[in-house]
């Protein structure tokens, strides 16, 4: 330490031997149809990795010393081999944190989980009240999530996570979320809504207003490391003091995504051919993709801040989230669509003429999900797409907000 080492974030820009952690979505199948699902999940993909293939990936992660994975989906617990895979991973020095809507967290499962050192559970909840939650995640999902939390708490599972995607409808409930977490002895995790997956369809309707971003930033600063953020709000550090975390986009540098069919993407919010680095089914497996893919090598070269470089906030916000820019049609070397200096709004206006890239693939249920929220304005425009030939026109009176929804191509 005789000479001062570079700040970690700067060193991480050039990539690591293996990801710090990675997100692994085990299935596209899900019992819910959340309107903002970042992986457009719903239906299982017939090409999903088999149990043996998943175990081979875990063996590889162990060899690479990837110490833990964030398992998600879809709803990962609906895979019949889910608990066997969790046991296999933790038996091979790969810790597991899995995200669930709680549907399978019975009292018995909760007791089983409470006895494990290497397993962490994250229950998704997008409203501190049933009305706000169920409008996004589907009818009855609030009750399911709270029942799962109760089962975990009763089993003595301390410090599980409650994960909230921040929207303009739930940002006013931060204190209520905190109270729920405190009630169950859980830790609150607040993450950013991205225009990824089906989130692209609802982003305009749900993303935070500028004033709400400020409110959130102040609240996060006040709560410090008590509240987790998955480092997802580093673009807000442009307001002032940096939020806890690495404060950088880790895509392809320190994180990545393995999707249910084994495709490796730069980050969980960038499921699109432009960010596809390879597949765990490639001859050199996941390690080959991580270490040698052209895309990841590109991401690890020094990046230019483009239009942002002259901004005094660039040192802290680093230009924001790559996926948020991509799926709103903004250039990757320009401002984040939610730039705290307001440059994103100008960029969005300038980019409005050209269509933004569509997230793909799409595994949404072909039937419309259950929605509630009748007492709130029903966002009829949020899934508006050009009329598709061969389908009946959607009536303006159709109360179903997903009327006319066609899975993207």
């Amino acid at each position: 330490m005789s000479k001062a080492p570079l700040p970690l974030a700067e060193q991480f820009q050039y990539g690591l031997q293996a990801p710090i952690c990675l997100t692994w979505e085990l299935t596209y199948a899900c019992n819910l149809s959340c309107v903002h699902c970042l992986s457009s999940s719903g239906r299982r993909d017939p090409r999903e990795l088999t149990t043996a293939e998943c175990m081979a990936v875990i063996d590889e992660l162990q060899r690479m010393q990837v110490f833990y994975v964030n398992i998600g989906g879809g709803e990962p617990t609906v895979r019949p081999d889910f608990w066997a895979l969790v046991d296999y991973a933790t038996g091979h020095d790969v810790g597991v944190k899995f995200s669930t809507n709680g549907v399978k967290i019975t009292p018995e499962i909760a007791r089983r989980l409470a006895g494990r050192d290497y397993v962490d559970v994250q229950i998704s909840l997008d409203g501190a009240t049933p009305e706000v939650n169920d409008a996004v995640r589907g009818r009855g999902s609030y009750e399911v999530a709270l029942r799962a939390m109760g089962n975990l708490a009763d089993a003595g599972f301390a410090g599980f996570k409650i994960s909230v995607v921040m929207t303009r409808h739930n940002v006013g409930q931060l204190e209520k979320f905190k109270a729920i977490a405190d009630r169950y002895g859980a830790q609150l995790r607040i993450t950013r809504l991205r225009p990824s997956g089906r989130g692209a369809d609802v982003w305009d309707e749900l993303h935070l207003h500028p004033g709400q971003q400020r409110e959130l930033y102040d609240w996060l600063v006040a709560h410090g490391t008590d509240v987790l953020t998955g480092d997802s709000f580093f673009h807000l550090s442009g307001y002032g003091a940096a939020l806890p975390g690495l404060g950088m986009c880790g895509a392809g540098r320190v994180v990545c995504l393995i999707d249910p069919v084994g495709d490796v993407y730069a980050c969980p919010f960038a499921i699109h051919p432009s960010f596809l680095a390879g597949s765990v089914r490639d001859p050199d497996g996941f390690a080959g993709v991580w270490q040698h893919s052209e895309l990841f090598s590109d991401l690890r070269r020094p990046q230019t801040g483009g239009a942002c470089e002259s901004c005094s906030a660039f040192g802290s916000c680093r230009g924001g989230c790559m996926a948020a820019k991509f799926f709103t049609g903004l250039p990757l070397d320009g401002p984040d669509p939610e730039c705290v200096r307001g440059h994103g709004e100008q960029a969005l206006a300038a980019a409005a003429a050209a269509p933004a890239p569509r997230p793909s693939p799409d595994h949404s249920h072909r039937t419309a999900p259950h929605r509630t929220g009748e007492r709130r304005p029903v966002p009829l425009t949020l899934l508006a797409r050009p009329p598709v030939t061969g389908r009946p026109p959607v009536s303006a009176c159709d109360a179903n907000p997903l009327a006319g929804f066609v899975p993207g191509r």
């Binding site: 080492p5 570079l6 970690l8 050039y14 031997q17 710090i20 944190k97 050192d117």
Partner: protein, 101 residues
Amino acid sequence: MACAASTEPAGQFDLDAPWQLDAQVRVRPEAFGALLYHFGTRQLSFLKSPALLAVVRSLGAQPSARAACTAAGVQAGDLMRYAHALQTLAASRMICKRETA
């Protein structure tokens, strides 16, 4: 052996005690230093220099943390910075005092 919760007051790392890496901690060397992961607390830490990694790795084989620093070539003038880094690791249970026979 797993670490008990640290009882060290902040900033007062006992350089002359024998220390070790917690049995539930795994180490992954990287160009910048290393990644540490504690499977019990599920916490991740970064060692921000290869020299600090050398110190941490040799703790268990050296009679004291001071000896581990010396063996890794830490200069006297840098010792307090290393003690501070080790204190941070002790506070998060990545390293713990070793029972001597």
